[in-house]
Symmetry: C2
Subunit: 329 residues, 2 copies
């Protein structure tokens, strides 16, 4: 590994500043429909921001293999549009009130219009991707979006019952890691990387995506309501068992297990207060267990990059790993 490690988010941002600015401009253009309501919703979602993690990964993958063309701007916008489309439909399905600290689109425009706005965003993503005139890009995107949609349906089917670790990993792969991985693979495809390079970068994306989602799920159980913008243990209340909870269910006492299952059964903390869940997780070392798993996936991501030629872009990809597991919100 290089001694010139990238140390701050600012350095990564500086590295990608011009590309990310270009992607924002592309996203502004892409949010325009001939139908006003769609433009309003698309523009509301775009202006809501987000960390643009997926476009950033795509840029780093493409640039780490020496690519400098316009395709990465276009496809960077595409992966963000796909992400946004999934959020719009997921928020309808979850009946979510807020998203990124603002009213969710379905709260403002209603479910009917948001079903259609989500459809439109998926199609807009395919439309922009189609401009690249690259069948492989389209194959990757269609495969990706079907896996994500199927994953959300699997999620609905498991709500309210305790899943096992294999099911959990399947769900977070489809929810998060799949898009991270495809973003990396699209970058590698644009750069016409070797099959080995493409696989390595896709593996990086998959592993960092798993680590990212595990940390997200841990934060839901450990962070303060102020940081989360929603009450602690919301996932459990919504019927979703995440890695720390799965660990506690497998290693806790019969009584601890029962207390956790009550939350799933009640969809609330009537019989088991939130604090008691946190105590059970603490007693069983369940949060540590999940963080060790996140570290392990981050380490796998690091190992995926071992044959990648050194560059500031590779160093940024390595920095992302530290950021993902160390973040506190």
């Amino acid at each position: 590994m290089s001694t010139l490690a990238i140390a701050t988010a600012q350095e990564v941002f500086d590295l990608l500043r011009d590309d990310l600015t270009a992607i924002e401009r592309e996203l502004e253009r892409d949010a325009v429909s001939s139908v006003t309501a769609i433009t309003e919703i698309a523009e509301y979602l775009r202006a809501g921001g987000g960390k643009r993690i997926r476009p950033s990964l795509l840029l780093l993958a493409a640039r780490s293999l020496g690519y400098t063309g316009h395709g990465m701007i276009r496809l960077g916008a595409v992966v963000e549009l796909v992400h946004t489309a999934t959020l719009v439909h997921d928020d309808i399905i979850d009946g979510a009130d807020t998203r990124r600290g603002r009213p969710s689109a379905n709260t403002t425009w209603g479910n009917e219009k948001c079903v259609l706005a989500g459809d439109w965003l998926y199609m807009q993503a395919f439309r922009i991707a189609l401009e690249e005139r690259n069948f492989k890009v389209l194959d990757l995107l269609i495969g990706l979006t079907q896996q994500m949609v199927e994953g959300e349906l699997l999620q609905i089917q498991t709500l309210g019952r305790a899943v096992n670790e294999a099911e959990y990993y399947e769900l977070i792969y489809r929810k998060t890691a799949c898009l991270f991985s495809t973003s990396m693979q699209l970058g590698a495809t644009l750069a016409q990387g070797t099959p080995e390079q493409e696989e390595a970068l896709a593996n990086y994306g998959r592993s960092v995506g798993l680590a990212f989602q595990i940390v997200d799920d841990v934060l839901d159980l450990t962070a303060t309501e102020e940081v989360l913008g929603k009450p602690v243990a919301s996932d459990l209340r919504e019927g979703k068992t995440t890695l720390p909870v799965i660990h506690a269910l497998e290693h806790g006492t019969a009584s601890e297990r029962e207390s956790i299952l009550w939350v799933l059964e009640d969809g609330g903390f009537r019989r088991t207060p939130r604090e008691q869940i946190q105590e059970i997780l603490h007693r069983n070392g369940s949060v540590d267990y999940a963080m060790v798993a996140a570290d392990r996936h981050a380490e796998q991501a690091r190992e995926s990059l071992v044959d990648l030629e050194d560059s500031e872009f590779k160093r940024a990809l390595l920095w992302v790993l530290d950021f993902v597991v160390a973040r506190d919100k």
Copy 2:
């Protein structure tokens, strides 16, 4: 025109029997997902049938230009999948209870799963279309689906207020004629027709689609509840003003106009009984006016085919026109 006119639906069906059977097999294969609930919903929708009008148009367009390849089977399935995807999302939006005489998918599986099943069907359509490895096919399909989704949103925006004729035509173009037209154009594209042939067949599809939807809208106001499978004038009750109603609003007395607007306002027949609506339309010749418009579009469709070489497929396309305007359900 040929003297060997095709006279019956059976003759058209015989002509396309093998192709339509192949499309059914393709649709059976396409209804399979790795997630059980999606397969269940997709299979339920497929088994529900439908007239397969759009695939038939695509086949007739392709074959009328001498095409015999497998692409028309694949894309025949694609246009039916797109049609099905729009119905699934439209039924959620309209809160529809039934579809083709059976419980609608949203009634059986719930809105949440059906949002995702609709997404999946759109993507499955694109996935199958992508196998054709033809960018123009993909451009046409993306343009089409965005127009249809935008159309449904325009429809929502106009619900409950009287639209004018121009708005009505815009809505039925996006709802029906656009997919008819694209089906024809896809057939012509497969057959590598000249730009003139492609335009002629696309125009045929557009005109026959407008005629088809006008007749559909007339039947909603004139057919019996037994034939419709739903009460007469359901469109008006749902806030949709169709061509006969628009004519009556423009040509009726102030009192007749008021009576129609009450239905839109109330979303029901509290102040104006259904029979009174039918009487108003009758008095103003509004149904005849709409049927003349349908005939005019059918005639335009016929004229679009004037330069198309004679064949049994061309004769079938001409037969379709008589069928569309003469049908009573």
